[in-house]
Amino acid sequence: MKKSWIIGLNTFKESLRKKTLYILLVVALIVIGASKAFSFLTAEEELKMIKDVSFSSIEFFGALIAIFMSLTAISGEIEKRTIYTLFSKPITRQNFFMGKFIGIVLILLLNFFLMSLFFIGLLIFKKSPPDIQVAKTLLLIFIELILIGAITLTVATFASDAFNIIFSFFLYIVGHLISYGNQLVDRTENFVLKGLGKILFTIIPNYENFNIRDKVVVGIEVSRNYIFKTSVYWFLYLVVILLIGSYFIQKREV
């Protein structure tokens, strides 16, 4: 585990040098800041606007950061051939893969922290300090981002960058529409289609589980029970993804 951490920190430092990261972060902060410009609305409406924009931006830009950072985490090492030296050291492939994952989590944590801080600052400035519901929303967004990053990282263990980026974006969109897909499948008569549909929609990560923003923003309270269930779902799914990535990195020839 210690070796994974060493590799993770190295990956984190490497990510800090990628320009894409800063561009995305700055754009996200600008968008969040712009939400304050709607001061001609009533106070309540403006607050809702700030929350809507901020939550959506943190999730969307966070997802972009997760995908872009994870994309090149492994392929970068192969292209630069630093991977050979690394594999000649007394580390296992697992150390390498988990190290990359840890690095991604760290970089996401930093970005998420910065964006959330800015958002919370805005809320405090608007005299509406964040409550536990805001915290729950942010928590779910954060774990969602980790899952997105883990999936892209796992796909990177066996597929090309080009495939990975298309697949990751596709999965991001579809992952948000699972409930709609499920409702459609429920209405179909065809037994086979229904079965396949259900299986497919279990395998595809349901990102909407982590989306409680629409409701929190209009004042609906989300129970701890729901947060707990979703967190367990997240954990199990993460384990599945990491196991798959671990399997492929072991097999991979460089």
């Binding site: 709607f38 001609f40 609305l41 309540e44 409406e45 809702k48 606007m49 929350k51 809507d52 924009v53 939550f55 959506s56 999730e59 969307f60 948000h176 529409l177 409930s179 709609y180 499920n182 409702q183 279990t202 395998i203 349901n206 909407e208 589980n209 989306n211 409680i212 923003r213 629409d214 409701k215 923003v217 209009v218 609906i220 989300v222 129970s223 029970n225 729901y226 269930k229 979703t230 367990v232 779902y233 199990l236 799914y237 384990v239 599945v240 196991l243 798959i244 671990s246 399997y247 072991q250 097999k251």
Partner: protein, 306 residues
């Protein structure tokens, strides 16, 4: 290395508890009202696909447009936007309440205020008519419609029955107006004038329908039952309906003023005993003084609500 396949095996096995957990989460979503509504209209699915992550944001942007239209007097353009927002975030009470208010009160009043300009134009044109019969006809129509407008905007009850009567009056005026076609300009202006009460009723009805739709998405809160009840009571003077909805409102946690309005509505609806009972509920609240006076007045057979 040999055990590498075990990882895949475990991963597949774990998909089962994940599947069951998802079912449990879906159930929680239903129970806690976290589910996204799906209206299976093709166009709306497309919109939903695009907006699924950003519904709240989209709703806000649409809301900005509504503010714009309101301030520039483009009332009809507000309608599809209100629909859109209500569809995006049906549990956002404010949209329904404000939308309903805009329609039943503001646009309603705005339409009415258009009459002043028309009246002065019409009066000028009537002066120029030489034929006495036609002149009288024009004056009569103008006066009838004017009275109707004022009545609708004030004390005329807007129950379903009464609305039918008003529409009949408007139809009648329109028919008689046909005889004035030769006075082209006057005909056109008077026509617009005759349309006013109809438009006012349209907006009142739209406001009511809008609130009713809102209720279907928010059945378990007092808010929209109250808004609708209030609209029926205050704007519509439709006391049976007012009572109906206010009674529904008090079934859920609600502030005291809801009880207050219901008490008034009972009285106006002739249900004095229920009114008294309702006032009694307000003893011990901030409405106590009013309640006591009301009970006293009602018990002695007087009228409390103006």
């Amino acid at each position: 290395m040999k055990k590498n396949w075990v990882k895949l095996f475990i991963a597949i096995i774990l998909l089962f508890p994940i599947g069951f957990l998802q079912v449990s989460i879906d159930y929680s979503k239903k129970v806690e009202d976290l589910e996204s509504n799906i209206l299976l209209m093709p166009g709306q699915i497309a919109g939903s696909l695009v907006l699924s992550g950003f519904k709240g944001l989209a709703a806000d942007l649409l809301w900005l447009n509504i503010e714009n239209y309101w301030h520039s007097g483009q009332h009809y353009k507000m309608l599809p936007l209100l629909d859109a927002i209500a569809w995006l975030q049906p549990t956002y009470i404010v949209v329904w309440a404000v939308g309903g208010w805009h329609m039943a009160y503001n646009i309603f009043a705005n339409v009415r205020s258009g009459k002043e300009k028309l009246i002065s134009q019409i009066e000028k044109m009537i002066e120029e008519i030489e034929n006495k019969n036609n002149k009288d006809l024009a004056i009569k129509i103008k006066n009838e419609i004017d009275t109707l407008i004022e009545g609708i905007s004030r004390e005329y009850p807007k129950t379903e029955e009464k609305i039918k009567d008003y529409v009949r009056i408007v139809e009648n005026c329109r028919n008689r107006l046909e005889g004035m076609r030769e006075y082209k300009k006057l005909y056109e202006t008077l026509n617009s004038f005759v349309n006013i009460p109809e438009e006012m009723l349209f907006w009142y009805n739209s406001g009511v329908s809008f609130l009713k739709r809102g209720i279907t998405y928010n059945r378990d809160r007092y808010d929209l039952y109250f808004e609708l009840g209030w609209t029926y009571y205050h704007k519509g003077r439709d006391y049976p309906n007012a009572v109906r909805y206010l009674e529904k409102a008090i079934k859920f946690p609600h502030p005291d003023y809801v009880d207050d309005v219901l008490a008034h509505a009972y009285e106006k609806n002739g249900q004095i005993d229920l009114a008294i009972k309702q006032w009694e509920k307000l003893i011990g609240t901030s409405f106590e003084t009013i309640a006591k006076r009301a009970i006293q007045t009602l018990k002695s057979g007087g009228r409390f609500t103006p």
